[in-house]
């Protein structure tokens, strides 16, 4: 066991981990931050996406020890300071961008990373960026729409209901 220390959603956190402890496992099992989900074991579904030093990564495909000293952001830290939904989260609710909610944390974290890199993405840029985030419920329509809306684009022409 080795000690790791990292900042999670702005708060310094320490824990004892094995070499094989994944960042996702550290979050879920050790810190009881269960918003980050695990939907596959081949690094494809993206339910586990968090940000490490500002970059979207799959927390199921990174060891906790590798996050030593890092700044980690998870879904639990995304809401506004007053607890209200942030712009992306609010757009997901406004445009019905989630159903069962399981892929949603990863979707929101990927969307946040996308909009940081590309503040006004086109539809095809959004779709391309979501290559590593699988949703089985929504057919992606409302996710793509929500992300475009969150970027401040007018989505009223996109079929609503």
């Amino acid at each position: 066991m080795t000690k790791v220390t990292m900042k999670i959603n702005g708060k310094e956190v320490s824990g004892e981990v094995e070499g094989r402890t994944l960042l996702a496992t550290f979050l879920r099992e050790d810190l009881h931050m269960t918003g980050t989900h695990i939907g596959c074991d081949t690094s494809q579904c993206g339910a586990c996406v968090v940000h490490v030093n500002g970059k979207a990564v799959k927390s199921c495909t990174m060891f906790a020890a590798e996050a030593e000293g890092a700044d980690v952001a998870t879904i639990e830290g995304q809401a506004n300071a007053d607890g209200s939904l942030n712009v992306i989260q609010q757009a997901f609710q406004d445009h019905h961008g989630l159903q069962c909610g399981f892929c949603t944390p990863g979707m929101v974290m990927s969307a946040a990373a996308l909009l940081k890199e590309n503040p006004k993405p086109t539809e095809s840029e959004v779709r391309a960026y979501l290559e590593g985030n699988i949703c089985r419920c929504t057919g992606y329509h409302n996710i793509v729409k929500a992300i475009m809306a969150a970027s401040g684009q007018d989505v009223s022409a996109i079929a609503a209901e």
């Binding site: 094989r20 918003g35 406004d94 089985r136």
Partner: protein, 787 residues
Amino acid sequence: MPKDSGIGASTKRREDVRFLTGNGKYTDDINIYGQTYVHFVRADVAHATINSIDTSTAESMPGVLKVFTGADFEAVGGLPCGWQVTDRHGEPMQEPKHPIIAHGKIRHVGEIVAAVVAESLTQARDAGEAIEMDLSELPAVIDMKNAVAGGTKVHDELSGNLCYDWGFVEENKGAVDEAIKNAAHVTTLELVNNRLVANPMEPRVAVGEYDQSDDMHTLHTTSQNPHVIRLLMGAFVLGIPEHKLRVVAPDVGGGFGTKIFHYAEEAFCTFAAKAVKRPVKWTSTRSEAFMSDAHGRDHVTKIELALDADNNFTAVRTETYANMGAYLSTFAPSVPTWLHGTLMAGNYKTPAIYVNVKAVFTNTVPVDAYRGAGRPEATFQLERVIDQAARELGVDPIALRRQNFVTEFPYATPVAVEYDTGDYEATMAKLEEIADVGGFAARRAESEKNGKLRGLGVNCYIEACGIAPSNLVGQLGARAGLYDAATVRVNATGSISVMVGAHSHGQGHETSFPQVISEMIGIPEDQIDIVHGDTSKIPFGMGTYGSRSLAVCGSAMVRAAEKVINKAKKIAAHLLEASDADIELKDGTFSVAGTDKSVAWGEVTLAAYVPHNYPLEDIEPGLEETAFYDPANFTYPAGAYACEVELDPETGKVTIESFSAADDFGNVINPMIVSGQVHGGIAQGVGQALLENCSYDEDGQLISASYMDYAMPRADDLPFYSVDHSCQTPCTHNPLGVKGCGEAGAIGSPPSVVNAVLDAINSGGKKVAHIDMPLTPHRVWSAMNNA
């Protein structure tokens, strides 16, 4: 003006807030003090005799509490099958025992052979690797037609690998044969409905608990129907009476059918928790899910469509081989029969129909209901053969469909069901509008300029939802009733908790069900909460599947609310010193007709719990009512779908350019949620048509056993959809006039995708009648190359 609350409003989902902030409570998020972990050792061969299993090393390894094998479950019942099908000759289907842990024989890759319970998951897994097995491998039974031809048996105690040979309607057979013989034209297609894996994004999880102090068992599980699990596991597997067994299904990350069934892992964790006197947790990996979640579809069909000289359909005859896998999963036998044969009339007035289904045991994972269940298989073959007939006859495929539409309702089909209502012309006309069918030729010309082929595919669909009238399904072999239940509990200050038997795992019941109650009573939606997913909190329920939640459980909720309102009116009448017949309820206020006397909802509810001024001689205090609702008929959502594709002839790659859906779901409670359901269904249908394929090799190895080989639809595989549900012929027999919308997209979309690709290919001059799904670039390119 769109409404902003109640029935018909696109109310934003309240459950989203917890999901969007990481506060959902899924089964894997549950950790119980003292919890242990189970690792299942699963078969890596498809078919073998187990000569011996040596667990001695494993048992002595660090952290191991106990190692279980099939022998530990000898006294325990097998996993039950909930539906008995009777074959063409009046004989019951063959029904083998479905053990919790393989005993004596392994029958599919992924079957549980041993289970290790340990302090940690890694310790359990380490010990699992130390279990030694002496197996004698047997030839794997994989191909269905070979399986029924004889040779190796999956179950030695059965007469062969045929589960049943079902004919429907057997009395129609002679007339159908005759009609086909005398037809002006017969179109025949042989096709495969590809095996799929449902793949909800949340893998299955089970946590078993046992409390010695009150002999109480609790199972937390990823289920669409906790009461059904309690019934099946308690009564048939472990022998635990209902009052000593609680089943909790908290937030569930998608189901799509595969979380209906009672699984071995649920029974194991419940059983083992008592055996080791500690909670036992199992979390499936995705790799385990591929070889232990029930699969879907997997039909091989020959369909013949007969037409007269005027292109009227005169008969349909089908022969289907339906894969059951190695064992009968909970509802498996009903899928290729009652959920498939009964829909073979489609939207058409074909007078003579005969359906034959041979269900077959193979050394593969059990196959059961997956979104649509039987109805996608029926729709696919019918809508493919109609398209091919149109091509052979040189007629417009939309016109051919129109000409044969059922136009008068109610309509009794030759396959035993009665459509209560519908308007297939209306949905087709709406489809032509939203898909801009008229503009297709210009779009095709544009694609061709760029060296691409373009195709337009259309199909209709009908489904039977709102499952189901209990007396009818009882006659058909169901071993359960299919009603549902709801309790409306009005609190003293007027807020309401509604306990519902339906389970929400993405459908948004927590938002849409209160819209109904809000509409009925006239209080704000946020005064109403839905409670679901816990047998200790809800009187009873049959759960969510078959697009039934609103049509069946919603109807129970309406009935319970009506009882509440009737009682509240009596209380109001007392308070207003009027006759209860004169009391009206509107916008949360009771008033006496024709007067300005009124009393608010909250005053009445308070009186019910503080009955100082109350008609105690006539009615009891309190305001809580339960209703069970058993539907009078199925509901029949129907519609018309169109897909437009572009095809790269050099590579065979198909791109979905547009997808349009015109559905008739009857009345709609929350249009936003309904559209979302259709979107998701379309994506799964497009996935089946173009991407997804669960494939076994001849040795029974699953070769698409992860997302590396099983192609899940991703955002860039799909376009924005155009969906419409403005054509509404309300269901005639349930109080809300609703039909159900959960499965339509998955049922209605595969044929239009395939029809579109074939349209594209044929437009390029290649004569290709059919390509089996999924239409991967390789398959399309090969078909074009061989044409």
